[in-house]
C-alpha cells in the first residue's frame, strides 16, 4: 500500500502506517525526493504516530531520506515518535542524529514555519 503524501502550502506531509515494509519506506524516500522538486516544497513532515516499531533499517532510511530532501532544499521533521519507540531506539543505540523531530504534526509545522530556523538543533 503506497504511503499517501499530502501537500499543505510548501510542506509535504507523509503519514506512515504500522505495517510499514522496507520496500514501502524506500519508495517513500524516492517519492519525496522527487515531489520536493515538483512542488517546490521547503519542508517535509514524516508522521510516524502509528508506527509501533522503528528498527535499525527504518531509522537508517529516515536519516538518509532527511539527508536527500535537504540536498533538494527541504528540511525534514519526523513527528509522532511514540514513547515506547523512543525508549527502544535509545536502547538500540539509535538517536536519529542530524534529523529534526517534533512531538506531533502541529509542532512539526510550527518548527518548519519559523523564519530563521535551524531544525537540526
Amino acid at each position: 500500500m503506497p504511503i499517501p503524501i499530502l501537500k499543505q502550502g510548501n510542506v509535504l506531509i507523509a503519514s506512515v502506517q504500522a505495517a510499514l515494509t522496507d520496500q514501502e519506506l524506500l519508495r517513500l524516500k524516492d517519492e519525496l525526493a522527487d515531489k520536493v522538486g515538483r512542488f517546490r516544497s521547503r519542508g517535509v513532515i514524516i508522521d510516524v504516530t502509528s508506527l509501533d516499531v522503528m528498527d535499525s533499517f527504518a531509522t537508517r532510511t529516515l536519516r538518509s531520506l532527511a539527508a536527500a530532501t535537504r540536498l533538494r532544499g527541504a528540511e525534514t521533521v519526523i513527528v509522532g515518535i511514540q514513547p515506547d519507540v523512543a525508549i527502544t531506539l535509545v536502547q538500540l543505540g539509535l538517536t536519529l542524529e542530524g534529523v529534526a523531530t517534533a512531538l506531533d504534526l502541529e509542532e512539526g509545522l510550527d518548527l518548519l514555519s519559523r523564519p530563521a530556523r535551524d531544525p537540526r538543533r
Binding site: T21, D55, F57, R60, D84, I87, T88, L92, G93
Partner: protein
C-alpha cells in the same frame, strides 16, 4: 521447543508479520509497555538478518517460563551462508551488508538472553529470550 508459532521469512513483508505476531504473543504472556516494543523490534532485526543474508528462513515464537516468570522465546533459523566471525558480527557498526551493523548487537541489547550458533555454509540460528517483570 514444541508448539509455538512459525513464521516463514522470505521477503520484507514477513518481517512485519513476524514482529506483529511476536508482539501479540508477548502481550498474552504478560509483557507491557516498552517491553512489547523492544521484543517486536528485536524480532524485526533478526528477521531482517534472514532476508538480507540468507534470503529465506523462519522465526519461531513460543511462550516459556523460568523460576515462575513467564517469557517469550524467539528462534530465528536459516540455512544461509552463516556468519564467519560471530564476535565481529556482534560489534556495533560492523556490517557486510547494506546496514549500519546495529541489527544484531541492537537485538541483543533489547532482550535478556541472546545466543548465536552459526556455521559457514550451513546456516545460522539465533535464540533470544525475554522474561516478564
Amino acid at each position: 521447543m514444541t508448539g509455538g508459532t512459525r513464521v516463514t521469512i522470505d521477503r520484507d513483508v514477513d518481517i512485519v508479520t513476524a514482529r506483529q505476531i511476536g508482539r501479540q504473543m508477548a502481550a498474552e504472556a504478560g509483557f507491557s509497555g516498552s517491553d512489547l516494543t523492544m521484543i517486536a523490534t528485536a524480532i524485526s532485526e533478526v528477521a531482517r538478518n534472514i532476508v538480507e543474508y540468507a534470503k529465506r528462513g523462519e522465526v519461531r515464537l513460543e511462550t516459556a517460563s523460568k523460576h515462575g516468570r513467564k517469557g517469550l522465546v524467539v528462534v530465528a533459523n536459516d540455512d544461509g551462508p552463516g556468519i564467519p566471525d560471530i564476535e565481529q558480527a556482534m560489534q556495533d557498526g560492523f556490517s557486510t551488508g547494506r546496514s549500519l551493523g546495529l541489527g544484531l548487537p541492537g537485538a541483543r541489547r533489547l532482550m535478556d538472553e541472546f545466543e548465536i550458533v552459526s556455521e559457514p555454509g550451513k546456516g545460522t540460528t539465533i535464540t533470544m529470550r525475554k522474561w516478564c517483570g
